[in-house]
Symmetry: C2
Subunit: 236 residues, 2 copies
């Protein structure tokens, strides 16, 4: 089984994802938010690329969530803080979500054989689900503004670590995946500090979202794995 890690959305070619299992990662904050919402009873998360698409997708009873430049969008029910979605308000509801990078990565991965959403919060369960499909795996780091970001890379490294354990050494990662695995190995005791000091983390702290960074830096808090089905992410 091959595992390719891709550093950011604009490095992904849709054709390379066909037939594969794709894990989309946007640790700060889209996939952490999606996992948290589904864990708290949200029925489905519908990702859209633009604010207008989000409004058009909204059906009766749906909640609107999302951010631009890390801030909640005017008129929306929620921003992109995972803590906002860990409340009874989301139970049984669909959430239409638009974010800067994470939803773009999800849209780009629609031709995958299977698509999952991963983050530190559900890393182990996500690796196990991806491995169970028996196909080659692509881990797509969303990145920020078309650039690699450390928090997604470290999460990819952790996923490679779990996948290698599941594959009993017979799993071959690409060079970028190996580099992320090494980076995770060096950092693992200090994930929260690494997330607070990387570019996205510093930006969120400056905007008053330090609690979000700490929330998203925790590993394996949830066993829930969001999987792509009928244009939305639902519980696996």
């Amino acid at each position: 089984m091959l595992v390719d890690v891709i550093p950011c959305v604009n490095e992904a070619r849709s054709d390379d994802l066909i037939q594969k299992t794709v894990i989309v990662i946007d640790v700060l904050r889209a996939t952490s938010t999606i996992v948290t919402a589904l864990e708290h009873g949200c029925a489905a998360v519908v990702p859209t690329e633009t604010v207008n698409q989000a409004k058009q997708c909204q059906q009766e009873g749906d909640l609107l969530g999302g951010e631009r430049f890390c801030k909640k969008i005017a008129g929306f029910d929620f921003g992109n803080s995972p803590a906002e979605y860990s409340t009874p308000a989301v139970a049984g509801k669909r959430v239409v979500l638009t974010t800067t990078n994470g939803t773009r990565a999800i849209q780009k991965s629609q031709r995958a054989g299977r698509m999952l959403a991963g983050c530190l919060l559900n890393a182990e369960a996500c690796a196990e689900a991806a491995y169970s499909f028996g196909r080659d795996i692509v881990i797509l780091c969303a990145g920020t503004q078309d650039e690699f970001c450390l928090e997604d890379g470290l999460c990819a490294g952790l996923l490679v670590r779990y996948l290698q354990q599941l594959g009993d050494g017979r799993l071959q990662a690409n060079d970028f995946g190996s580099a992320m695995l090494h980076a995770f190995d060096a950092v693992q005791g200090g994930l929260e500090e690494a997330l607070l000091s990387c570019a996205s983390g510093r930006r969120l702290v400056k905007l008053g979202h330090e609690d979000d960074v700490r929330f998203c830096a925790r590993t394996n808090v949830y066993r829930l794995v969001p999987v792509w089905k009928d244009q939305s992410l639902v519980r696996f």
Copy 2:
């Protein structure tokens, strides 16, 4: 001082290199070969993108070197094994060199304020020279076939480590640079093994160049730093 590490040539935008000090890295094997040739008395290395350009650049007395698909080019004096250049044959001569990835990275960096060639063999001296210029630094990993390769990333991580020591903690690396620094920290005791097992290393071993990989995996063997001047790389 800012240090940006760029994962591979096609991620570099020439405009972002203006006024900066650029360190081009192609550990397997172009920059290792260039450092080795200059260390052994070669007068200058003239990099060209194509085989035809190499032939056109050749003046009387010049040697022709280079590879395509890791193999020596027909009619050339040398291939791209650094060991070939550690002989008296290169002393006092210019070498016109064309390689698949390294020379492309050098050509792309011509608008830099200063351009240096780095590899594991001269990492510490290269970091010291780059730091001495006092400008922001870009470390450009050549990569392989437009993809990141581990050996260049690990070398970039080592350079970031030295630059941070020189900058006494006041130096800010981009997220990709931080990731490479962490990866280097995890691997440092086993660089040779990492280079033998990464994609480029496996390819070179298969083609009978295992000795080259071991040669290039050594750190700080040379104090020599190639610097770009008048369309060629010469001793700093």
